[in-house]
């Protein structure tokens, strides 16, 4: 670390902000506020229940590293349990990494941590097609090694399609924290050009950005994903991750421009708040304080910068 860097960091962290000492002292005179878990959890649980009950026909669900799309029919999503209940119709899910996804259908429970699957109902029968990876059905391992048929009362379960070695290797490598091996395997999954390719590419980029701490490589992956899936289901998530990679590479001007474009294209996006925050940080980093502060009103963390 050069002397100039040390001096800069020391200067910025040498003296507390004006009034901080008094502010903290006054706060200490107040009785300690303890957050009672039930005051937070009970309303959250009620809100989750209401959300599920009031949502009549959800069509598409997005979760962390998961894409669950309801092609037809009716399903409900319980985000707390990461569980989707398929009443009828066809559900397509590509699940990579954790947490595990649970699908309840006709009294059966399907669990998976890294599979692409199609679940289809027809009357009382259920058909499950794991395109890749493995699943647990009612606690029993079900592999997509070859065409398999299981009969269980009125419900039949079919597993079709050959096992995909790369998907299996990716899941195993992630579990074993062998990041480079996981990265290579995810690349193979993405190259196969099937259902989970977009999700695999995104997860590969995330792995490179956060775990391998290699934003340049991550950016290349995100750009490849953007070229292959310009209108993909994960376009907004990919753009946010790309912005984070650009930020980690200190390309602050590019972040500010791309963030503005994103917010114009997707003003109501669930990722808009995170993108706005990055935009403010980037603008501050390049000294465009007036613009930054115009957008920083909703973020307490920038109060000191915009005073």
């Amino acid at each position: 670390m050069t002397a100039a860097w040390k001096d800069t960091v020391r200067a910025a962290t040498q003296t507390p902000p004006v009034g901080a000492k008094e502010r903290v002292w006054r706060a200490m005179q107040q009785p300690r506020r303890r957050v009672r878990a039930e005051l937070v959890l009970v309303p959250m649980a009620l809100a989750a229940v209401l959300l599920v009950l009031l949502r009549p026909e959800p069509q598409t669900f997005h979760g962390t590293n998961d894409v669950i799309s309801l092609r037809e029919g009716h399903a409900t999503w319980n985000p707390g349990a990461n569980e989707v209940t398929l009443e009828r119709g066809v559900l397509e899910a590509s699940v990579w990494g954790t947490p595990a996804l649970r699908v309840r259908v006709k009294g059966r429970l399907i669990e998976t941590t890294g599979a692409v699957l199609l679940v289809r109902t027809a009357g009382e029968s259920v058909s499950i097609v794991p395109v890749r990876g493995t699943l647990l059905v009612d606690g029993q391992l079900m592999e997509a090694t070859e065409a398999t048929r299981r009969e269980a009362g009125p419900t039949s379960i079919e597993a079709l399609e050959p096992r995909d070695a790369a998907a299996r290797r990716a899941a195993q490598a992630l579990e074993a924290k062998q990041w480079e091996a996981a990265d290579r395997a995810l690349d193979e999954v993405a190259s196969a050009g099937t259902l989970g390719a977009e999700a695999a590419l995104l997860q590969k980029g995330e792995l490179e950005l956060r775990t391998l701490a290699d934003p340049k490589r991550a950016l290349t992956t995100f750009e490849a994903a953007a070229a292959r899936f310009p209108q993909g289901n994960l376009a907004q998530e990919r753009e946010l991750s790309s912005l984070e990679a650009e930020f980690a590479l200190a390309r602050f001007e590019a972040v500010a421009t791309r963030a503005a474009n994103f917010l114009t294209r997707f003003p109501d996006s669930e990722r808009a708040t995170d993108v706005r925050r990055l935009q403010v940080r980037a603008l501050l980093a390049v000294g465009r304080r007036a613009e930054a502060c115009q957008f920083a009103k909703d973020f307490a963390e920038f109060a000191a910068d915009c005073r």
Partner: protein, 178 residues
């Protein structure tokens, strides 16, 4: 033992404030240099002093600052654990403009440096980040760091060796010369 601590323990009300005034800047600087932003640093310092005052009776020997440091570092560590990576990175970027760089260009340069340092520090483990920050930024010796963090001097040397190496590797990946 620190006379102020003795006075606090004997029930002298004014001594509490004096003890706080004496050590506030140190506690705040520690929280800040271990990776918290201004707002989080204030909260951490508040929690740390409340904990320290509450348990002052159990402080038996050694220097008060060493004891306080460990409380602050624990509080910082707990907060860092609770934060998502991007929030953690935002810490130093949110640095206030109290830097003594007067020009706009100077501020931008300072921000870039702080951003780089914070991004890189955020990639180090807690122990390495602590050793690195205390040595490189605070300028403490290996022995002093060992006493502060409650580890052997050799352990601190090892942590520092790997922390420096990782810091340089991460800096090169970012395309900067640290």
């Amino acid at each position: 033992m620190d006379p102020l601590v003795e006075r606090c323990r004997s029930g002298d009300g004014a001594a509490w404030r004096a003890l706080y005034d004496t050590h506030f800047d140190f506690a705040w600087r520690t929280a800040r240099r271990l990776g918290l932003d201004d707002a989080d640093a204030e909260d951490a310092v508040q929690e740390a002093f409340q904990t320290a005052f509450q348990h002052l009776g159990s402080f038996r020997h050694g220097r008060f600052t060493t004891w306080l440091y460990r409380i602050v570092a624990n509080e910082v560590s707990a907060r860092v654990r609770r934060r998502r990576v991007r929030e953690f990175f935002s810490g130093l970027l949110g640095a206030s403009q109290r830097t003594d760089a007067p020009s706009a260009e100077g501020r931008v340069d300072a921000r870039r440096t702080l951003a780089h340092v914070e991004v890189i520090l955020g990639k180090l483990s807690k122990d390495k980040r602590e050793a690195f920050a205390l040595h490189e930024i605070e300028g403490l010796s290996h022995d002093e760091i060992a006493e502060l963090v409650g580890a052997r001097t050799e352990t601190v040397r090892t942590r520092l060796f790997y922390a420096r190496r990782e810091f340089e590797q991460h800096a090169r990946r970012l395309g900067v010369e640290p």
